[in-house]
Every structure is written in C-alpha cells, then in structure tokens.
Symmetry: C2
Subunit: 426 residues, 2 copies
Amino acid sequence: MELTGLSSQQLAARKAELESALDDIRSQKLSLDLTRGKPASDQLDLSNALDGILEGFYLLQDGTDVRNYGGILGIPEARALGAAILDLAPEQVLAGGNSSLTLMYQYMDFMTGFASPCWRDEAVQAGSRLKFLCPVPGYDRHFTICEQLGIEMIPVPLTGRGPDMDLVESLVAADPLVKGIWCVPKYSNPSGETYDDETVKRIAALPKRAGAGFRVMWDNAYVVHHLSDTPDQLASIMELASREGTEDNIVLLASTSKITFAGAGVAFLGASVTNLKAFEKYLSASVIGYDKVNQLRHVRFLRDMDTLSRHMEKHRALIQPKFDKVEAVLESKLGGKGIATWTRPAGGYFVSLDTMAGIASEVVRMAAGVGVKLTPAGATWPYGVDPEDRNIRIAPTFPSLAQLEKALLVFVVCVELCAVNKLLEG
Amino acid sequence: MELTGLSSQQLAARKAELESALDDIRSQKLSLDLTRGKPASDQLDLSNALDGILEGFYLLQDGTDVRNYGGILGIPEARALGAAILDLAPEQVLAGGNSSLTLMYQYMDFMTGFASPCWRDEAVQAGSRLKFLCPVPGYDRHFTICEQLGIEMIPVPLTGRGPDMDLVESLVAADPLVKGIWCVPKYSNPSGETYDDETVKRIAALPKRAGAGFRVMWDNAYVVHHLSDTPDQLASIMELASREGTEDNIVLLASTSKITFAGAGVAFLGASVTNLKAFEKYLSASVIGYDKVNQLRHVRFLRDMDTLSRHMEKHRALIQPKFDKVEAVLESKLGGKGIATWTRPAGGYFVSLDTMAGIASEVVRMAAGVGVKLTPAGATWPYGVDPEDRNIRIAPTFPSLAQLEKALLVFVVCVELCAVNKLLEG
C-alpha cells in the first residue's frame, strides 16, 4: 500500500524494520557497483575474434595500407559502416578513433573557437555567455564538455517523447547565444525514451529559428541497442533536415563501444559534407589520422547491418535478464508504495528512477555507506544539481545477475527508508 | 668543380645538358614521392604479429580488463614501457592513443585556455600575443599547432648541437609572453642533429629565466631510431630539470608510430606528476580512456628496451641502404659543386639539404613538374616561409630503393639546373 497513507506509528514501525534490514546488509560488508554503463565481460567476449581477424591482410580495395599514416576521415569501408549505423551517406561520415566523446569535444571546441564565425566571437560581441540546451535527465559527460568550454547550460525537461519542444523553441527564439542542444534521441541516457517523429521534425527545423551557428548534437549512442522484439523507430533527422535546409546544423555521433570493446572500438561523426570539410580542416592540426588498423578490424568483424544486428542480439540475450531483474525487484519491493517511479526501457543501458523529491542524494549516500555504489545523484543534471533531488540512474549491465540482485535489494531498502524518514519529518 | 667558378658560356652549356636530361625524365612520366617520413611496407611487416598477439588474454596484473572503459593515464604496463623509452619513472608517463601529435595539441590547448593561470589570460592582460620559439628547420606539424592556437612563432637557428642558446636565452628573458620552445632533441626533424649536453642543460634551466607557465615541448620522436653502431647520446632533460627545480616545465613526447604501425600504435606524454595530474583533469572532459587493448598488444610485442632495440635493428637494416643511397647520389652528383650542403644523419627519418639561397621552392616546383613530389620548400619553417628559400627535406624511407634512386637522380638534376639558372641570372 502507499506509504503516504500510513500513520506516524505505522511509519515508525516500518522504519525500524528497514533499519534492521540495513544493519543486516551492513554486516555483510558488500562491495557492489551500479554506476557506469559498462558492458560485462561476457558481452566483451562476444568480440574476442577482433584480435587476429586481419590475418596479415592490411590493404584496402583502394590500395591504402592501413598500417601507415594518412587520412583524417577514416577508411572508406569504416565510413560506409558508420553511414549504415547512422542512416547517412558514407561521404557524410567521419570514422574516427576509440571515442565518440572525444569527437564531440573536438566538434564543440571547433565551433567555440575555430569555426567561422566562431561562437566565442559572437559571445564577446554580445557581451554574454554561450548557452546550450540540455534535456534532463541527461548524460553527464555532455555537460562536462559544456562546463570545460565555458558554455552555460539550460536544462529542458524530457517528456517521454523527447524534449519539451515548446520550451525549446521559445528558448532558441529568445536568445541568439543559445547555440545548440544535446540529444540522445534513442533509448536516451538515462530515461530510455526515444524521440517521436514530431519531435525529431521540430528539432530538424530549430536552426531556422536560431542562427546559422546553431548545432544539434545528435548523440545516437544506443542506435542499435535494443531490448525488445519491436525496437523503437527513430525518424532520420538528416533526411528531415535536408527538407528544412538545415543539414549543416546537424551533427550525429555513434560508436562501437557498446557493440565490441568499450573504449577500444571506432567512433563515428556524421555531418553534411560542407560541415565535415570544415571540421576536417580544424582536426588536421591535431590528428595525423585515426587508427585505421582497428577500423579495418571492425569492418571485417561487423561487416554490415545484418551481421551487426545478429551480434547485437547476442548482447541482448546477455543483458535482457538483468533489465528484467531490475524491473522485478523494483516492482516487488517498491511497487504500489507511491514513493518511486522508474522506466522500463526498450533499449539502451539504463533504468532511470525518480524517488520522492528531496531524497535522491540521501539514498545514494546511504547505499554507499553499506557498500553499494550508485551514480551520484544529480549527475544526470547540468552542474550535477538535480533541483528536485530525485533522479537516480541505475546501470545494470556490468555486474553479474547475482551481484545485481544483491545490489538492487540493498537499493530498494535505501529508497524506502529515506522515503519513510522524509514522511516522518514532514 | 665548383659551379661558381664557371664562365657564363660554361654555365650555358651545362644548362643545356641539364635541360636535355630533364626532357628525358619528363618523357618517362614518373610518379615518385619523397615527401613524408613514412615507414615502407617491409618495415610495417616487422610488426604484423601485433594482430592476434593477445590470444584471448585481456586481463592485467591488477585485474583490469583492457576491453572495458576506464583509465586516462593508460595501463601500467604501457606506462612502464613509455617510461623506459623516455627515461622517466612510470608515474611520470601517460600512455595515450595512436598519436603523439594529438597529445601535443591537447597539451598546448590545455596551457592556452585551461591551465591555471592560463596563457590566454596572461596574453589578454599584457595586450599582446603568446609566442613560442621554433628551432629551424623544424617539424611543420609543431608549427601548425601554434598557428591554430593563435601563438606567434619565433624561428631560432639550429647550430648542429641544438638551438642557438644565446639567442634562446635572450628571447626568453626579454618577453614573458614567450611561453615555450619546440624541441626534437634527437636526430632532429629534419636536420638530424642531436642536442649536446650543454644545450640540454641550458634548456632545462630556461624556465628559471621565464615564468612558471613556460613549457619545453620535448618531442623525442626518434629516440630509438638509430642509423649507426654508435648512437648519439642525449642527456636526460628531466634529470637535469630536477636539479634545476624545473620538472613542472618539461613535457616529453614519443610514440611507437615509427616502431610498429604508423598511426596505429601508442603515444606517450611524459611530465612531472603534478603537471600530469593537471593535464589529466583537462583531458577528463574529452577522453573516456585510450585504447587499452592496443596498449596491451604493444606491451606484449615490444616487451622491454632490449626487445625493442632488437626490433629497431631490423628497421635499421631495411632503411640504412636508403640513407646510404641518398648520400651516394648526392655526393656523386652534387659533391664539390658548391651549390648544396646536406646532412648525414646518424638516426631519424630525414636528410636535410640546403640549396643556394633563393631556389629551394623552384627546385620543388621543377621536380613536381616531372613527377617527383618533394616536401614543399618552406614547410620546415614557421608559416611555411623559409626566409632564405634554401631548405629541402628529403624523406627516403617510404619508396623502394629503386624508386628512391630514380627520384634522387631527378632531384639532383633539378637542384643543379636551378643553381645554374640562378648563377646565369646573377
């Protein structure tokens, strides 16, 4: 039954039960971790064939030896693979190094100080700071990029179908120093939502309300990471942008980090040919070329979208039970109590849970105190500050199923105990 | 005999001979390339064992799974290898991605805008531009970094034992906005010289004349790339700096690009622990971790300095004949004519040739016209401008010995013909 319906006496009794449970847990001296969206080692094993896959063959169809210097945009075969993943033409794709985060940072740095005209000059002229829209809850590393580059972040709520577009459009129209928006459009980190067609269409049209320097940072990190037989469908933003004449304002990102080896794969940046050409010029001062040997390994291993999809099914088989476990534990222990809501994602790497307002950081602190590490509350918000202090991101993939269950059983005790304490206070 | 001793008639006769030779060459429709310092494919073959070397073992001694996210400073085993190469302690080394150029750019960007205090703020306060000392002839990509970051370059002549230190010291003392110096201290690109002990000592002491923000960018790109049984000895700059109390001002760089696969290896950045910690913080916004799988491949393959040195001997066996060929052709065709001087390097990747003043770019143009591509004249100078227009960099490693000889025979005709034309003019 709903905890809000309990009397103070009943709450006090429940508090005692929960504290006793927590004492039991403390005595077990656990060391569990639900923080980062990392693949587990059985998932990594799926790609062990990468090492050795080249069998001494290093030449591309165009005669390029991948073991030697050269080429910032990546090997044609890898660009074609990235284009298939991002639903673009190969000439719109840069196949990069081991990290899409690095490409995002470099692209933002390029726009901030080196593109023509660059954002920094506009800000100086306007005597104000650059701003970026940040749908929340969101990915902390997007926010860190903005912080480091001195860009002010404006949080915009997600609705379950993408960002609140009325708000987004009014913010963009009101201030020319709003230079862009971060989007994780499919199986969003951490809410799991996929932007609907109407939202994608309105985002593609946004640059017409803003200046030419506006950029949609379309981080399609979970584009092939399904947890359902009927995957979410995401509209093609580049196709919609080409109808609006805004192709030069769209920047797409993806990587193989959660497909093959995490942090040892290939990242992709998609953009119009004009946009890519300007970015390539910027990169030429810092990049001698990406690791083409590893690009070729990935092309040989992932081959095409059919092969890649079959590979992703193997990932799903390994992680689906973990997501099912999260749902089962949360539902059985918190369901119907009126103290938390959470997502049931059809893809991606996270479950997003909202506690009662004002207790998320206390839940995280309490869990840490008994040996269960959670992503810091607030991490999903710009500057690490969740104004309502309620969102917690759960990353279930890395621990074993048994460890996951143990950690979740601790987590739900902490969520309920903090809620009881809050209700007793109030 | 010296061409300067010839009469106008003799010169005209020689001109006719050379032009006829050039016509012959033109009719061969050559397509040869002496531009970039790239290893040849037989050199790359030496490292083919890298692919597949892991044999399914991805765990480090400390339990880290290299296939997963994490760790900006690199795996301990790779840091130790980098420390052996750079003559540092492992905790002073970051093992990075596939490019030391990227690390250099990132470090310079860090100092320009993010270190505390940062160069940019100092420049704004002083109302002037940042400046960097650039020993010439030097590496064009160092200069490109400065250009992109808005840093003014001041060329300083190399003497054969390193930069002209009297000039360097006076420039540093005269202007606090001189923020650093680029150095390729061993088998310098392209002059081949190695800085002598006295020079290294004076460079290590430089930061005492400059401010705390001064940086020595010590690009030890050719540290293990010998072409002699008695390799040049380079003093340890970090050891000398520690005596001077200037460790925080020294940044060392190296990579395996010309040891294993070019652009698909591991780069290293060496610095004091304090310096490295600040740089790591800057990197954490853009780097999720470097490719640890590839780092482990390199550790398994190169192992230690003994194994690495034996590997480098195999490179030497392949490229020594090419350097010998350069010397033989230049000596037989240009020797004693008083129109060119060139280096006989004991290591590295280049031969540096000085023509008579004012004709280097014409030589490059002429050679290109008959199918032999040379590094653009001036590329070895800041802003691509060699004020005397005489330096040409020859990169002999990439072509086959036969192609190299053919290209050189064209090159010497161009050098002599341009010299004859110059003498006839004057």
